[in-house]
Symmetry: C2
Subunit: 149 residues, 2 copies
DNA sequence: AAAATAATAATAATAATTATCATTATTAAT
DNA sequence: ATTAATAATGATAATTATTATTATTATTTT
C-alpha cells in the first residue's frame, strides 16, 4: 500500500481571491466617491475619521492602494515615484515602465494632442501639459515570460 | 532742507539677475545632458561625483531645481507632489494649479489624443496614458492680481 | 582691497509613505 | 457550532526623498 501525503503551503482556492469589503474599506470608498476634489490620503483620512474615529492613517493608505488595484478608484499622476530629470529641455513626451520604472522618450510625431478651449472651459490660464504613456518595457516583457509557468 | 534717506533691503539691479555658472552647476548640466536615461537626483549625484568628488547631494538637488527654473533642463511628470486619489475610475484627464496645487477634471471631449504606433515604435506593451494640463486656476489668478503693484 | 552677496558642503529636519507586529475580525474546515 | 487558518486593523516605528540650516568658501560689486 502506498500513501501519498501532500502538504500545501497555502490553502488553495480555484476561484480568484475576492477581497473582503470591511467597514473601513467601504467607508473610504464611499467618502472618496463623494469628494470631487481629488484628495490626498490625509484628506481622505480626515473625512473618514468623522465616521470611524478609531481608523488608522495606515489603513487609509493601504485601502486606497487596494481600491486602486481593484480598479474602483484611481491614483492621479505619476507621483509617488522619485523625481526624474531630463537634459533635453525641448518639448517631448515620455513612456514609463510600470515594472522597472525606466523612462524613455517618445519619438517625435508619435502623438498628437488636440484640445479645444481647455482654458475657456476650466477658467485656468494654461501654462503647459504633460503627457506620459506607461506599459511594460521590452526587457521586462522577456523577464515576465521567464517567470511564467 | 529736507533729507530723504532710502535704505534698500537689497541691492537693486535693473538688468535681470543672471545666475553665476559655478563649476558644480556646469558639471551637473553637462553630465545630465550626456545621459538619456532621465536620471533621478541621486543618479546625477553619482555621475557628477566622479568628476567633483567633494560635491554635496544638496547642491545637486538645488542646482537641478535652478536649472529647471531657467529652462535649461526639465523635471518629469507631476511627481514631487503628494499622491492624490479620484473616486471616479472612468478615464478622464485633469488640470492642476501650479500655485495652490488643486486638481480639477477636464470636461469630457475637451482633449483628443491621437497616437500612431506608440507600442511599435518603443517596443513597450502599452498599458495606458496619463495626460495632465497645468496652469493658474481662477482663484489664484485673482490672488495674483491683488499682489501685483 | 574691502565689503557685499551668493553658493557650497555637511548635516539636520521634514514630510509622505511603507513596514512591522500584536490584536481583532473574518472566513474556512471539521 | 467550534476550532483552526487567514486576513485586516490600529498603533507606531522605519524608511526615503527632499528641503532647510548654517558655517565656510567663492564670487561680484563697489
Amino acid at each position: 500500500m502506498i500513501i501519498i501525503i501532500i502538504i500545501l503551503e497555502k490553502r488553495v482556492s480555484l476561484a480568484e481571491k475576492i477581497r473582503s469589503m470591511t467597514r473601513q474599506r467601504r467607508m473610504i470608498l464611499q467618502e472618496l466617491q463623494k469628494m470631487t476634489t481629488h484628495p490626498t490620503a490625509d484628506q481622505v483620512y480626515d473625512m473618514v475619521r468623522k465616521k470611524l474615529p478609531r481608523i488608522s492613517l495606515a489603513t487609509v493608505y493601504r485601502n486606497l492602494d487596494l481600491l486602486a488595484q481593484d480598479g474602483l478608484i484611481r491614483k492621479l499622476g505619476t507621483a509617488g515615484a522619485q523625481m526624474r530629470f531630463d537634459g533635453n529641455p525641448v518639448d517631448h513626451h515620455h513612456i514609463r515602465c510600470t515594472r522597472c520604472h525606466r523612462v524613455d522618450d517618445l519619438p517625435a510625431g508619435t502623438v498628437m494632442v488636440k484640445d479645444k478651449g481647455v482654458g475657456e472651459r476650466t477658467g485656468y490660464r494654461i501654462a503647459g501639459l504633460h503627457l506620459e504613456y506607461n506599459g511594460l518595457c521590452p526587457e521586462c516583457q522577456t523577464e515576465m515570460q521567464k517567470t511564467r509557468v
